[in-house]
């Protein structure tokens, strides 16, 4: 069977810097695959590369296949027909994905109409059904309400409804719950989990949070400096992390340590901090 998403030796360069340095990975149909990493690991760059959302200065090499179809080098027009149809993406800040002046129901209907699926009336009916499905109460009444009439968690639900409007095979979620309160985060993660079960959607979930991975992901890849250090079933990763960096990350969580005890610190050679410092020293030297 063709993988819903397959990376083969993917590299993304911004000038001399390599943000993604050779990632190969295949997702299984219907799974939630988590990519976890700290800042600068390349996790968001990898996700954006799938959708062709990288800035013009980026050069992508290797192969990214969505359901067998090559995405690297695809022109903008072809990408546009695929976005929101075969692949949808949601981000940390739902307000950035929504037009502040427009009713949320119309915006969901628009994503249906944009792909020429159904009449205006059918789109409206489907948008209401989707709002209902993602847990917006009194969906028909709230159809014309603008985004700011909703809470942050509800806005993320609406964005999820729009993302799923055309039943994409693949949903890419980049830090979808990072801006939400923990109680709301749990609800939105449960929603994503329920929807992929009901629709068979494959989900690539990008996060900095091992707790989020633990909560919903079937498998997980740990990214560091543009590379996938290890890929494992979630339970295995936490029970038997194979890479020293992963072991250190898991041990450094306050939730994992004895209350009040010193937290084990990531060995210096793996610390993002020393990386950043080295880079800023480099920048300083370049400036001087």
């Amino acid at each position: 069977m063709t993988a819903p998403l397959a990376f083969d030796d993917v590299r993304v360069r911004f000038g001399a810097a390599e943000a993604v340095a050779g990632v190969s990975l295949a997702l299984e149909a219907g799974e939630i695959f988590g990519i976890v990493g700290e800042s600068g690991s390349g996790k968001s760059t990898l996700a954006n590369a799938v959708m062709g959302l990288l800035p013009g200065a980026a050069t992508v090499s290797g192969s990214i296949r969505v359901d067998g179809r090559e995405m690297v080098g695809l022109d903008e027009a072809s990408l546009r027909t695929l976005r929101g149809r075969s692949v949808s993406m949601i981000f940390q800040d739902p307000t950035a994905s929504l037009d502040p002046t427009w009713g949320v129901g119309d915006q969901i209907a628009e994503t249906i109409r944009a792909h020429g699926l159904g009449s205006a009336r059918e789109a409206r009916t489907r948008a209401i059904a989707l709002m209902d499905e993602v847990g917006i109460a009194r969906a028909a009444e709230r159809y014309r309400d603008v985004p700011h009439r909703f809470s942050g968690g509800q806005r993320q639900r609406i964005v999820i409804a729009a993302a799923l409007a055309n039943d994409p095979k693949l949903l890419i979620a980049d830090e979808p719950t990072t801006a939400l309160d923990v109680t709301i985060q749990a609800q939105v993660l449960e929603l994503i989990d329920r929807l992929r079960r009901e629709h068979g959607t494959t989900v690539l979930l990008i996060t900095h949070d091992l707790g989020v991975v633990q909560m919903v992901c079937d498998r997980v890849g740990v990214m560091y400096r543009g590379r996938l250090l290890e890929v494992a079933a979630t339970a295995d990763l936490f029970e038997r992390p194979s890479h020293p960096y992963t072991r250190a990350l898991i041990a450094a969580r306050p939730a994992a340590a004895k209350r009040g005890a010193r937290l084990p610190v990531i060995p210096r050679e793996w610390s993002v901090e020393s990386l950043e410092a080295r880079e800023s020293e480099g920048a300083e030297a370049a400036d001087g």
Binding site: E38, T183, Q214, M215, T234, R253, I266, W270, V272, A283
Partner: protein, 266 residues
């Protein structure tokens, strides 16, 4: 243990949008009382809009409450002026989530720390350069970093500088509002360790404000849980986290990400 800070029945309301001539008020603090003992860390946990940051800002004198008392060593700090106000500010120092906001982007960070010494007249003029180096060492930064601009440091290093600046005046209480929330996982652990070191080595008390229950549970002696402008539960960290009595505390604990077989396995 001796009480350092006591907040009594603090109320703070804001004009709410949509009100007629500002008559509608939103309640940020609806009568909040807390106490921090000398040398103790009180963790204040709550979600966005709970009023936890407003409480911190009231204590720091950055926001004026409508009513209620803020007592530091038994004396109300509202209405302090002149030398007594300066003395209170020296003894109670803030640490915020975004150290960029506390550091002048054009100054080498050593100068920002030095300014804190100048401002409170700590040490003799000639002695201050050595004190800056000591403060850098105290927060685990090589003093060579003093020459860097904030933009030339990593997020964790900037937060260490902000903590060094807060320590310059030899405070007795730190009010830390989400001090590790913007940091990467590997860096967060280091800064939490630093807070625990400061408590142990300097006997520093802290009001540690955060949305992150795991962080609060780890660093706090006592925990207060805030919801919609009220403290709904307070007690020792062990009691509140291991045996919560309020429904909201239970919901917060239940929402902390952890593996849930029923949830994952279907």
């Amino acid at each position: 243990m001796a009480e350092l800070l006591r907040v009594e029945n603090l109320v703070k309301t804001y004009a709410a949008p949509g009100g007629f001539f500002g008559r509608r008020r939103a309640t940020a603090l609806g009568g909040v009382s807390i106490a921090v003992a000398r040398g103790e860390t009180l963790g204040l946990v709550g979600e966005s809009g709970s009023g936890k940051s407003t409480l911190g800002r009231c204590i720091l004198g950055l926001t004026r409450p409508d009513s209620g008392a803020i007592l530091f060593e038994g004396a109300d700090v509202q209405g302090l002026s002149g030398r007594r106000l300066a003395d209170f500010r020296r003894r109670v120092q803030p640490v915020f989530q975004d150290p960029f906001g506390s550091l002048d982007p054009r100054w080498p960070v050593g100068r920002s720390v030095r300014e804190a010494l100048d401002c409170f007249g700590i040490g003799s003029n000639s002695d201050r350069a050595r004190r800056v180096a000591d403060l850098f060492a105290r927060v685990g930064l090589d003093p060579v970093f003093a020459k860097r601009l904030p933009s030339q440091l990593s997020g964790g290093q900037r937060q260490r500088v902000a903590i060094a600046a807060a320590l310059a005046s030899e405070p007795e209480l730190i009010v830390a509002d989400e001090p590790v929330s913007a940091l990467d996982m590997s860096v967060q652990a280091q800064i939490l360790n630093l807070f625990m070191d400061l408590k142990r080595d300097l006997g520093l008390a802290a009001l540690f404000i955060t949305h992150d229950l795991a962080v609060v549970a780890h660093v706090s002696d006592a925990v207060a849980v805030m919801q919609q402008g009220r403290i709904v539960e307070t007690g020792s960290a062990d009691a509140v986290i291991d045996a919560p009595s309020h429904a909201y505390t239970k919901a917060l604990i239940a929402a902390v990400p952890r593996p849930r077989p029923a949830f994952r396995g279907g």
